[in-house]
Amino acid sequence: MTFREFLDRFDRTERTITIYAPTSHPDIVDQFETRVVSVTHTPLPSVARDEGFLVIRDTSGFVASIGMREVREFLEPPIYRPWDEAFANAEYRVLLEILDDTVWYSLDRRQLLATSREIEDRAWRVGEGTLRVGFQRLSLLQHQLPIYERLAEETNLEIHVYGRTDDSPPNPNGLTIHAVDVGDADDSDGSDTASGEIGEFWFLTFDGGDDEQQACALLAEERDPDEFAGFWSYDPAVVDEIASHVASTYG
């Protein structure tokens, strides 16, 4: 199983999104449309003065509804640090859970960073277990170093960082760094597990420590510059599959 095969498996969304609002919100429709398969606008009467709301449905009907304000927050999430108190209450995290196991397109770095923070925050709060993080290039860890140093110092997490070797990768205490060179991967099973995927994918997995209910993962492929397709999952089995692939292929 390669990263691409994981992505393909979840590339069939069964969820639909309907925006109920007096006027169409082309910006929001656009943002969802490029990211998930089905989004429609159903008008509310024009005498209604509010912005409206959004309903998410799956094959068995209603899943959740949410006001337009939080939808905007979800599409342009504030970037918190894991220990921020405001982060614990941010409603868009619940929306993340509702919209998991679905491949999203046109995700940008900001969206991925917010989702990554959600995973790092869980790891921070649980304080133990294994966190695996893939940077496309190891030097990118530099930007996240304050977060990861604090995670390493103040928790019992086992933290593995993966990335393509490039100039001046940091090597802080408490993190296990796996520098991956192209052609480095163990291809003994004959599959197409080229180490190239490390440079193309952004991933995080957290096993939840003792509590697999806290398990979560993010996997996203950069298909165009700063444009990713990816999914996140709160399914312990999916998280375990991705983490196992990473551990067995890259150590």
Partner: protein, 124 residues
Amino acid sequence: MRMDNEQSASDRSRTDRSVIDNAFLILQNQERRYALYFLLEHETASLEEVADIVTGWPRASEYGITGRETRDQVLRDLRHRHVPAMAEAGIVDYDEETDTLSFAPCPPATRSFVRLACLAETVP
């Protein structure tokens, strides 16, 4: 008699008092109001969708996500209490076969009340 003459002179007919009573009786409940707001725009809708609306819309300005349990309770309330009440009051029709609600029998005066309530209750 005199009143009838006045009405015809101004080309208006007095709305039957029972229509007004029924309208206010029905409109005193928020779930029924939001169901009717939706019908203002769509005339006919499945009860399932109306339940989704009545769940999501009143909570749109609250900060939070509403889940399946709340929605299922709303659907039960609609099915067993509100829809029979609205049908009884002559404001909606419910088609059991298709499980749809339609606004067709609603008197014009009641529609106006619904519209006003929608304007007053929804906030930017």
